[in-house]
Subunit: 278 residues, 2 copies
């Protein structure tokens, strides 16, 4: 692992790191904020998965999480959203597929299956690296994310119920198999057999018996993607049917941007911290 | 005035606006955050002047001021740092002169004197526009800024003692007449007669009798520009000699970036609010 930068901020260290990933077959860059801590002490870990077009940098610059992470003494890890590099196939001119749009799947269809293995990267490879390289208590992990990253957070948590004590999302894509962004991405990464999509669809996973301990979702009512791409009501109904305790807060006037995310970030960090430190 | 965007954030409105400036002879863009307020209510105004290479957008995206401004009910205004446009002369390849480096002066030397009139813009034209277009109580104004913008905040406050109730700065250029950034900019904008520079030099203004009611400065000790360009010790000495109450906080490990600024932004907003709302 190579350190690209480490900058002091909010009584902690905001770092950016790069490593050769065996999951994606590329170099991968990610950001980690580590609050000040005692020698030998380990801190809980909150994963933040980003949305379409983003890298690790968007939330690092605009997410306003460091004050809350420092106050609650929580490490925040922000991975990239896809493999990168000249060798990685891309979809030129499409912001919602290819680079920046990995959708947290392990692709099975050529040419995507060589590098687009973000599920294995986030579920297996990067946690092992975080555990080895940072003062992280991997027994206390939470996960959140925005939009495509909200989809990632929900589906990864649903498939790994023993790993995460706390799960939240900002404006998640709740049912990708039923919306244009998801139909496009899952169809091309996984093929047209929709049976293969269900493990990457939070609503389908819940319908199939997967469970979360509890869920916090914030969603803006002025979000242009709400009706066609996010479908919060389907997640709410799935949680209700499954008996998953869910708090879905719909916010008048808020959109899909980091102006929305940053508004509620401190509350999410505090919500996770309460569940990770008790 | 044209509204370029208005986005809900932190229980307020983050707007970006453009207008034709008579001071600069160009269109100028600026950002304003207005916390929610009652109809007819006016709120105090905090000016934030940005540093070299910045526009209104840097602090708007990375400054982490909105939560504190909403909590304290303070409007924040973030102007651009220079005139912009194809007609505006620039210094190609120089980040510290020309566009993005207006240094808050009214230039007197050709070709800069036509458009580089940021002093008049910030001191006269933009305040009138803010007063006319926003729910601003112009009897309660504070000013802060970063680096070149810290220089701007200090010098504008020193020249306008009746306008600002509160003044602070992040890593300000304290004595531009004595450091490379300032010698270059003041020499080219104002000419080589250094007598003309003193009204744009905080340390010289204080030595000449100008006063601030009180001053808060945060400065990182890992700031690469501290020794050669910022010279905090000269400001400290000038304030001490003049009897200006000053709190200068030197922070181990912090650099010159928005990772530093955002760390202390909420404290600055609270510090100004305490002086603007009493």
């Amino acid at each position: 692992m190579e350190t690209l930068s480490e900058i002091r901020s909010h009584s902690g260290t905001q770092g950016v790191y790069r490593h050769a990933s065996s999951a994606t077959g590329t170099e991968m860059t990610f950001a980690v904020f580590v609050p000040d801590h005692a020698p030998g002490e380990t801190l809980p870990v909150l994963w933040y998965l980003s949305g379409l077009t983003c890298t690790h940098a968007n939330v690092m610059e605009k997410g306003e999480y460091r004050a809350a992470c420092a106050a609650h003494r929580v490490i925040l890890v922000a991975p990239d959203t896809s493999p990168r590099g000249d060798d990685v196939p891309d979809a030129a001119g499409e912001y919602d597929f290819g680079k920046g749009a990995g959708f947290y799947v392990d692709a099975t269809q050529a040419p995507w299956d060589t590098h687009y293995r973000m599920r294995s990267y986030i579920e297996d490879e990067l946690p092992a690296l975080i555990a080895a390289q940072f003062p992280a208590d991997m027994a206390r992990q939470g996960i959140t994310g925005h939009s495509m990253g909200g989809h990632g957070a929900l589906t990864i948590a649903l498939r790994n119920p023993d790993r995460f004590r706390s799960v939240s999302a900002f404006a998640p894509i709740c049912a990708p198999a039923l919306v244009p962004w998801g139909e496009k991405a899952l169809g091309r990464y996984l093929g047209e057999d929709r049976a293969a999509w269900s493990e990457y669809d939070a609503v389908a996973l819940i319908a199939g018996g997967a469970r979360l301990p509890e869920l916090l979702v914030d969603q803006g009512l002025a979000d242009n993607f709400l009706a066609d791409q996010l479908r919060t009501e389907l997640l709410e109904a799935a949680c209700a049917a499954a008996g998953i305790p869910v708090t879905i807060r719909m916010h008048e006037g808020y959109d899909h941007s980091y102006f929305f995310i940053s508004t509620f970030m401190a509350e999410h960090v505090g919500w996770h911290a309460a569940r990770l430190t008790r």
